[in-house]
Amino acid sequence: MEIKLKINGINKEVTIKDGEYLQSALKRLGFLNVRKGCETGSCGLCTVLLNGKPTLSCSTLAVRGIGKEITTLEGESVEVAKFAEVLTDEGADQCGYCSPGFTLTVIAMKRELESPTIDEIKHYLTGNLCRCTGYMGQLRAVKKYMEVK
C-alpha cells in the first residue's frame, strides 16, 4: 500500500505492508533512533510524537499516521541538544538505548504541563523504562530541564 506520511515536517511517499506498524516503517526509512524494546507496549522505547503527543510507534499502525505530524528525535534537534546537556551533566546518560523515546516524552511534557509537581512529572514519565540508570539521575535532569524545584 502506498501512503503519504509527514515525518519531521517533510512529506514522504511510503510503501507499507497491510498491518505494518509505524515503528518498522520508520526504521525502514532510516529513522534508526526509533528503537524497539519490548514490542508489547510496555517500555516506551519506540515513542514518537504524533501531532505532538507521545505515542508508541510499535503499537500504532503506520496508516494511523496519515494526515498527522510525525516527529522523531531528528525533528527536535534544538530541544534534544538542550536536554542532552542537562542529562549528561547529571551523569544520567548510560547505554543510551532508552534516550530517544525518553527525550521525546520529556520534550512533549515540557510543552504540555505548566509548572508540574514531581508527582505529575513521574506520572507523565511512567511508561518509559530504563534498564541502566535507576531513574534518579534522569529525574534530576528532568527537574532541571523543566525548571522545577
Binding site: D18, G19, T47, T55, L56, L61, V63
Partner: protein, 257 residues
C-alpha cells in the same frame, strides 16, 4: 505473531459491519495495542478511524463516549473529570504510560469485556449503557453477563449524568502493572453501587443501601464480598483478593460518606 492480510479503511459503520460478518477472521481494529500481543491471523482488519468515532460529548442528561476515543483523552477530559468525582478519568490513569494510553481505545476495551479492565469497573459503578450497531442499546451489566462477545460493533458508550458521587481504587504490585483487584463505588440517594473487577473474572456489581451500613459496615461488606467469586491466577490467590476487596470497598464507601 499477529498478521493482517488486508487493511480496510471503512467508509461507514455499515460497511465495517458487513465486512465483519462476512468472514470469521475479519476483525475490527481498535488501537491494536492488545490485538498485536496475540497471534491472530486477521483476514481483513477493519479500521474505523476515519469515521469520527473519537469523541466525548455532553448530551442533555448523558455523557457519550465514542469507541475510538483513546484512554489518554479519557484521562484528560474536563467533562469526565468534573462528573462523578472524576471516577472515569481516574480509572485509566495508571494503565501503563501515557504513550500507550494515547493508542488504546475505550470501545475495544468495553466490547471485549476484559476481566482485568479498570475502565469497565468504573463504568459499571455508574448508570452505563452501550450501543451495539446491530444489537442496539443495552445496559453494561446486561452486556457483561452474556458469556460470549458478540460479532458486532460497539458504537457508543452512554453514561447517565445523574449526579452520582464515586470513588475508584485498585491494588497493583507496582505502578502501571495490571491490577490484582479493582473496585469502584458510586453513591446516590443513599444507594451504593459497588463494582469489583480483576477478580480475575469480569467485573460484577452489587447494591448496598445506606441503612444497611449504619449498624455494622464490616458485616455488610463481608456479605457483599461473599456473593462475589474470587479466583486465583499468577498475580494473586482468590483468598488474598477477597481480603483486598473488603478493604477497597470499605475505603471507597468511607470516601463517599
Amino acid at each position: 505473531m499477529f498478521t493482517i492480510k488486508q487493511h480496510l479503511m471503512a467508509q461507514s459503520i455499515e460497511e465495517g459491519y458487513e465486512t465483519l460478518v462476512k468472514n470469521r477472521n475479519n476483525m475490527i481494529l481498535g488501537g491494536t495495542g492488545f490485538l498485536r500481543l496475540g497471534n491472530k491471523n486477521i483476514n481483513i482488519g477493519i479500521d474505523l478511524s476515519n469515521l469520527e468515532l473519537d469523541y466525548i460529548r455532553e448530551g442533555e442528561d448523558n455523557i457519550e463516549i465514542g469507541p475510538m476515543t483513546t484512554f489518554r483523552s479519557i484521562e484528560t477530559n474536563k467533562l469526565l473529570k468534573e462528573n462523578f468525582d472524576g471516577v472515569v478519568a481516574k480509572s485509566v490513569e495508571e494503565i501503563v504510560g501515557i504513550q500507550l494510553r494515547s493508542v488504546i481505545t475505550a470501545g475495544a476495551t468495553v466490547a471485549s469485556k476484559y476481566g482485568f479492565s479498570d475502565f469497565i469497573t468504573a463504568l459499571l459503578s455508574l448508570d452505563t449503557h452501550i450501543e451495539l450497531y446491530k444489537g442496539g442499546i443495552l445496559s453494561l451489566e446486561e452486556y457483561l453477563s452474556e458469556e460470549k462477545v458478540p460479532k458486532d460493533i460497539l458504537v457508543k458508550i452512554i453514561i447517565k449524568k445523574d449526579g452520582k458521587r464515586a470513588a475508584f481504587k485498585a491494588m497493583r504490585n507496582s505502578k502501571s502493572d495490571y491490577a490484582i483487584l479493582n473496585c469502584a463505588v458510586s453513591c446516590l440517594d443513599g444507594e451504593y453501587r459497588v463494582a469489583v473487577g480483576a477478580r480475575p473474572g469480569r467485573a460484577v456489581v452489587k447494591i448496598i443501601n445506606n441503612d444497611e451500613l449504619i449498624n455494622n459496615i464490616d458485616k455488610k461488606i463481608e456479605e457483599v464480598v461473599d456473593e462475589m467469586k474470587f479466583g486465583t491466577n499468577m498475580r494473586a490467590s482468590g483468598k488474598y483478593r477477597e481480603m483486598i476487596a473488603k478493604v477497597l470497598i470499605r475505603r471507597s464507601i468511607e470516601e463517599l460518606k
